[in-house]
Symmetry: C2
Amino acid sequence: MARYKITVEYDGTNLVGWQKQDIGQSAQGYLEQALYDFSGVQTDIYAAGRTDAGVHAIGQVAHFDLDTKMDLYHLREAFNAKLRDVNAPVCVVEIELVPDTFHARFCAKKRGYIYRILNRRARSVLYQNRVWHVNFPLDVQKMQKAATYLLGYHDFSAFRGAGCQAKSPFKTLDRLDIEKRGDEIIFTVEAKSFLYHQVRNMVGTLKMVGDNHLKPEDVKTILEGKLRKDAGVTAPACGLYFNKVEY
Amino acid sequence: MARYKITVEYDGTNLVGWQKQDIGQSAQGYLEQALYDFSGVQTDIYAAGRTDAGVHAIGQVAHFDLDTKMDLYHLREAFNAKLRDVNAPVCVVEIELVPDTFHARFCAKKRGYIYRILNRRARSVLYQNRVWHVNFPLDVQKMQKAATYLLGYHDFSAFRGAGCQAKSPFKTLDRLDIEKRGDEIIFTVEAKSFLYHQVRNMVGTLKMVGDNHLKPEDVKTILEGKLRKDAGVTAPACGLYFNKVEY
């Protein structure tokens, strides 16, 4: 048996998310179908993290097993040829052979997300479905200050989406950088793992600091209060990118 | 009379370019129609530079005249509402009132372009029609070295597209930076003005240095030889962005 690790890019706009569902197209579904089409093998492909409908991936990581060792270059080419044939919004950027002990989800040491806000009056015609368009000015400095309260080990219940299956609401947030780049505000977020909707709920809350509905210090109070209702809206899926996984 | 300066973003993928043509949609055509639709005024809109079919704009600049002074905020809103109504790939990012002596084309002191190459094996699903996909590795250091020969005041005949209407082939290239950013190679190019296809012909030639079809020093020889046939291919339109204009 040979275990393969793949790094996957996808445009989540028309996907129901990473995971196969009864209705709609998923990244997992496209990849498993492509694998079947060129190899005849029907097997599960496991990802580092499930992403929701509309969320994009720059560097999602997944793994699967085949009975035989195949040439990595040609394996990636076969995937991408089949994916292109059906015009899938998914491609395999890298492929590696890994030990049988590797597991895309359970071995992940760090996950990184990027969130993009387009902060200007006019909508984007170049980056539709790639950014959250916020059309009134946000105060980036206040958002940066608020973000510092979220760093470190905390009970993140206030930012936990309904239906979250994690056993514990405690997580360690390693990085939450907010940077202005032209018309965009870019969030770079890293942790070993996240609660369901945690990144989008943090971004939605920080945006409310940026537009002066909340003070930076309120984020500390919200975090300590542990009540989801006190935090802000869930930021839209289209601005979120699953950027990378470290093992 | 009041003269207005607008900064315009467009996705060039389905446009015939900036300029109105007999067939097809243009950025100029969309803007003039939008202006007519909300004001009843039929007038020409003049741009800092014509862009070709498929070329994008982040910060194209244009100007037009109206008989009356209008509120700038509402003028921009009216443009963007009309453009959105017809699902135009064009929007007005900024609008300013300028003196009658301002001319978007003739007063420009510097024009800036960006060119994006995606340099990896897999095609892009996130940035289709936004990058030139080159699927074998390019040597960025060699391209950077070659670029230095193009800086400054030269006869750029070797990089001049057929049908160029400029009186002289002499131009001063102020900036040609090449930077690796993840899977992408980004060219930042600035000059007071350019010959027709000059940026795309320079990028196409530098790409041939990157893939070892040419040595960096060959670019000097090509420049001095002044023959278009000695230089490389015209890089595809989809990777090119008209980024900004300085006045």
